[in-house]
Amino acid sequence: MSNNWPTEQDAFRTALGPGTDCPPIEDLERLTSEQPPAPNVAKHLESCSYCRTELQVLHAFQAGEAGAASKEVERVTELLQARSREIVRQATMPKASAPWWRTAFTARRISQASFAMAAILIAAVVVIQFRPSKVRPLPDTTQTGQEVLRSGGFALLSPVGDLQTQPGEIRWEKVPNAANYWVRVLEVDGSELWKAETAADHIDLPPAIRSRIVPAKTLLCEVSAFDASGKKIGETGQVRFRLLQHSDSR
């Protein structure tokens, strides 16, 4: 057996996993609920056991089928019901209501803040240095006459779309006058997996986050650019990416 394909489990995983043409479950559900379903979707479903399985499990979830375990599920529901007040309370508890200092002094925040402080200090030095000559432009050698400060979008270069290999970094277009960038990786439901700040136009993904990028799971990535004063000057918006099981489509 090849080193790249060490176990039978890997072989099954690759053969049965999603291909490049498998839509995310949200799209799959929408496309198949159209009457009649689009011919290309119907054709895809016919040949793709992965999507058929996903769809069946989704429909079972939506139907709330408990099957033979209905008594146990009833007990889970009762336990859950008893916690409903707590669930709703926690959900409505404003995230911002936690005192800012509580989150500000965690190790991660401090390291992020130190980057931000360094960027602000550098920016402050530059501003003070060039303050007297109001007409003199900032010494940015890369800036040309055509370039304008973008207040809107810039492109996330990678990871984007369906990926053959696990990404090791996030890379985006450099935004003129950006002093630092905030990078976020999110679940499809919008919950944040990771965020970081950098002055470069790319950032390495730490191993802990790379391990969360698993085949068939769609994630979102977004980058926001800030100028030296801390004003947001651009953002990529949320960009989807997904690691595929195998490199060829069905």
């Binding site: 057996m1 090849s2 790249n4 394909w5 176990t7 039978e8 489990q9 072989a11 099954f12 995983r13 690759t14 053969a15 049965l16 479950i25 929408r30 040949s47 056991s49 992965y50 058929r52 399985t53 499990v57 979830f61 939506q62 709330g64 089928e65 408990a66 099957g67 033979a68 375990a69 146990e72 599920v73 889970v76 529901t77 336990l79 859950l80 916690r83 409903s84 707590e86 709703v88 926690q90 959900a91 409505t92 404003p94 995230k95 911002a96 209501s97 679940e187 499809v188 439901d189 919008g190 919950s191 969360r212 698993v214 068939a216 799971k217 099981q245 195998h246 490199s247 060829d248 069905r250």
Partner: protein, 206 residues
């Protein structure tokens, strides 16, 4: 509930989004919870097979989902979105549990079958090998066997969870389907190898 029973999920979410971070959001949240608690409870029980763990997981899922409601996109279907959250949360939980306990206890041992992949070092050879295995799966396995194999090997669900999820009522549940599927695939693969061998031999004679 003051007429909230008539509202669609998506209308309730709009109310939550409008009343973000206020006590007024509690009513639509309570209604969403009431409507979908059985779905999530059932899903979590299917995954864990344990009442208390399922209740804990379901609680985490609802908190996660409700906290993420501001990012819910218009035009999406709430139950599909809730499914995505439930699925991802439970699979993450299974993965981290597996990391703690090393391998899946109910995983069947590998049976040193190369599926024609021996020496498949190049990407092209691997693609061909994968395509062959896919073809054998299509030709040899029935729908339930294929689904069991997909849920177990791709989604990495334990076999007892697969049995509950697909409502398999036979004595050994999903395990029987995996054993049968692997046997069928081995047989189909042997047949393919002998056909391939004889067709190569035929070419050499010519």
């Amino acid at each position: 509930m003051g007429g909230m029973e008539q509202s669609t999920d998506e209308e309730l979410i709009e109310l939550v989004q409008a009343e973000k971070d206020s006590a007024a959001a509690e009513r639509p949240l309570n209604e969403l919870f009431r409507r979908h608690q059985a779905k999530v409870a059932s899903w979590c029980y299917q995954i864990t097979g344990d009442v208390n763990s399922a209740a804990d997981l379901a609680q985490e899922i609802f908190i996660k989902a409700f906290q993420a409601l501001p990012s819910f996109r218009k035009g999406s279907k709430f139950t599909t979105w809730l499914y995505s959250i439930s699925r991802n949360h439970c699979l993450d939980e299974l993965r981290s549990k597996r990391k703690r306990n090393e391998e899946l206890s109910d995983s069947l041992p590998d049976e040193i079958e190369d599926w024609g992949m021996a020496g498949a070092d190049s990407v092209l050879e691997q693609r061909e090998a994968a395509e062959l295995l896919r073809q054998l799966i299509r030709e040899s396995l029935d729908e339930t066997e294929t689904k069991v194999m997909t849920l177990h090997y791709v989604n990495e669900l334990p076999l007892d969870a697969v049995s509950r999820m697909l409502g398999l009522t036979n004595t050994s549940g999903a395990k029987a389907y995996v054993v049968s599927a692997r046997r069928k695939l081995r047989r189909a693969h042997d047949l393919w190898k002998s056909r391939n061998k004889s067709s190569k031999a035929g070419k050499n004679v010519e």
